[in-house]
């Protein structure tokens, strides 16, 4: 570990810290339909969309109506994207003449991008036409992020409103999130990426002759536009199979920093937006503080483990030169090095993004455990746009519930009582992801089609399977690699994991929104637990770690923990 490395991490954290408050204020105003700097330009377009779609923006919805609209929209989106992928061979903008995507892979990909997961069982540059990349993958990156933010905003409204029967209008929230938040930031980011050398073209792959005289096709395409939303949306689905490790997606250290900031930007901004909408910015800062502590622990652990390198290689004096350990550079881009790779990997799994600039499969087992743990705690360490915030609010409900049990008082959070209904819904939401993750991983470990995809035996192979289902159910989308996941078994079971991990969490979250919106606000009293203080920050932190640990520690022990112990054993 070096001081320059720590400086890079500090610079990134400072940038996020500085951007959180202004972005939070902008988000609160944009979703409330108030005047923002972009309203004079985008307002007429927003109005035109409502007229064209027959939406009455002033007509608000109950939580059940909101949920039904949300589900209908996503059902239609899956079918449309599936059809487009199947028919891409007869659709335009296919200069490489790619065939239609196979049915199981098309379903997996459609569910993946509609659920904001971006698990990719395919290589983008060898499978998808430009039309599929642009109007399929990129469009759904926008829509899935906007719908995730809509759910978070609906939940915040639930906490902010008093005796209300409605939580907003899904179509309005979807439109405003796309128009006022995602599009403007993506336009700026895409231009910056273009300036740094990321290609944006509809020309077919470039033909090159290698030094040996062989022919080589150099894939390119409309990369910059997809790259911007890939990172901002928490989606992470790359144009190229190598994702942000590919020099056309992430050519320079500057683009690497920009990409990392984009990954955390909206998740951090939404915490401040939450604080503003419930009337106390301190509530938002408390949530961000919990996220920051978990992030710091994760990145420190990753950096330390990767900088220390492989103990088995060190014992053979095969690691580094002249007694100086080089750390674990396997699977990493030399231009990024250990710290930028470790930081990117931590961000990618702490958020729901899943983009990679290094191969997670090649990280040290202890690092693999941290990456898994980031996803297993529900991706609440900033998380994806919307999903991180509502995931963290679920843990807040559990925390105040436990605190209430200790003192024998009905728990309250930001002035709302957390009664049986809210706690039931919270548990339903929190149990969905582990149930799917561990259940599907267990099945894959014992059936022939599951074992057929393994690239490694022993604990590492098990980690590959566990990582795949954890990533799918947490709607992360990053892969441990090594696992051959493009088979009907994996495509269908991972699609099930992504579906359940998204919708069986969001339904109870919206139910909570409706339930708390109907309540009056309970005035703060001497008996109320302050949820914007240091004590609550550490209490919430403990709840997240304990719930995550109790749920997943046995699964982690069989994979990365066992593998790390094997390495120590080999070193001595």
């Amino acid at each position: 570990m070096t001081s320059v490395g720590w400086l890079q991490i500090t610079l990134f954290a400072a940038m996020i810290g500085l951007l959180t408050r202004p972005l939070g204020g902008y988000l609160a105003r944009a979703y409330a339909g108030e005047r923002t700097v972009l309203r004079p330009v985008l307002g007429p377009l927003e109005t035109a969309i409502y007229r064209l779609a027959g939406i009455k923006p002033e007509a608000e919805q109950s939580w059940l109506q909101y949920t039904i609209c949300f589900l209908l929209f996503h059902a239609l989106a899956v079918v449309v994207l599936y059809g487009q992928l199947r028919l891409q061979s007869v659709l335009p903008l296919n200069p490489q003449d790619f065939a239609g995507v196979a049915p199981d892979l098309a379903l997996n990909t459609a569910v993946s991008f509609v659920t904001n997961t971006s698990w990719q069982s395919y290589g983008g540059e060898t499978t998808l036409s430009y039309l599929s990349q642009m109007s399929g993958i990129t469009v759904h990156s926008f829509l899935s992020a906007a719908s995730g933010m809509a759910v978070a905003i609906a939940l915040i409204r639930g906490f902010a409103r008093r005796r209300a029967s409605t939580i907003g209008n899904f179509w309005v929230d979807l439109t405003r999130g796309t128009l006022y938040v995602l599009l403007p930031i993506c336009v700026i980011a895409a231009i910056l990426l273009l300036a740094e050398g990321v290609p944006q073209t509809l020309a077919q792959a470039a033909a090159a002759t290698t030094l040996e005289g062989g022919a080589q096709a150099i894939a390119r395409g409309p990369v910059a536009s997809q790259e911007a939303i890939k990172l901002l949306s928490g989606d992470g689905g790359g144009f190229f199979n190598a994702n942000s490790a590919h020099p056309f997606e992430n050519p320079t250290p500057l683009t690497n920093l920009l990409e990392m900031v984009l990954i955390f930007l909206l998740g951090a901004g939404l915490t401040n937006c939450f604080g503003r909408m419930v009337g106390s910015e301190r509530q938002g800062w408390a949530l961000l503080a919990v996220m920051a502590i978990l992030f710091a622990l994760g990145v420190a652990g990753l950096y330390a483990a990767e900088a220390a390198g492989n103990p088995a290689l060190a014992a053979l004096q095969a690691d580094g030169m002249a007694g100086t350990p080089a750390g674990n550079m396997e699977g990493k881009e030399v231009r990024f090095g250990i710290v930028a790779s470790a930081l990117f990997a931590d961000l990618s799994t702490a958020s729901s993004d899943g983009a990679v600039n290094s191969m997670h499969d090649s990280f040290m087992p202890l690092s693999g455990a941290i990456l898994l743990a980031n996803m297993m705690v529900g991706e609440v360490i900033v998380g994806g746009p919307g999903s991180g915030l509502y995931g963290m609010l679920l843990f807040c409900i559990v925390a105040v519930f436990l605190a209430g049990l200790m003192i024998g008082r009905t728990p309250e959070y930001v002035g709302k009582k957390m009664r049986t209904a809210e706690v039931k819904m919270t548990i339903l939401a929190l149990i969905a992801v582990p149930l799917v993750t561990l259940g599907l991983a267990a099945i894959a470990c014992v059936v022939e089609p599951g074992l057929a995809g393994l690239g490694n035996p022993g604990p590492h192979g098990y980690s590959e399977i566990l990582y795949a289902y954890t990533s799918a159910a947490a709607t992360n989308g990053s892969a441990f690699a090594g696992l051959s996941a493009n088979s009907p078994f994996y495509n269908l079971t991972l699609a099930l994991g992504m579906f359940a991990g998204r919708f069986f969490v969001i339904v109870p979250v919206l139910a909570i929104a409706g339930s708390v919106a109907a309540q009056p606000v309970v005035p703060q009293s001497a008996g109320s637990l302050p949820t914007d203080r240091t004590l609550f920050v550490f209490f919430l932190l403990g709840v997240i770690v304990i719930v995550g640990g109790l749920t997943y520690l046995p699964a982690l022990a069989l994979g990365p923990v066992a593998e790390q112990l094997q390495l120590f054993h080999a070193a001595h």
Partner: protein, 39 residues
């Protein structure tokens, strides 16, 4: 054609189950609200 029908069928079943889940949550909530309102 048959694989496509199966895949679309799976999508329909999945979203129908999510909608039924939402309806189930809807039935749970009002009861709990009434029972716990004074606690």
């Amino acid at each position: 054609m048959m694989p496509d029908l199966i895949m679309v069928g799976l999508v329909v079943v999945a979203f129908a189950s999510a909608t039924a889940y939402a309806q189930l949550c809807f039935r749970v909530l009002p009861l709990a609200n009434d029972r716990d309102a004074g606690s």
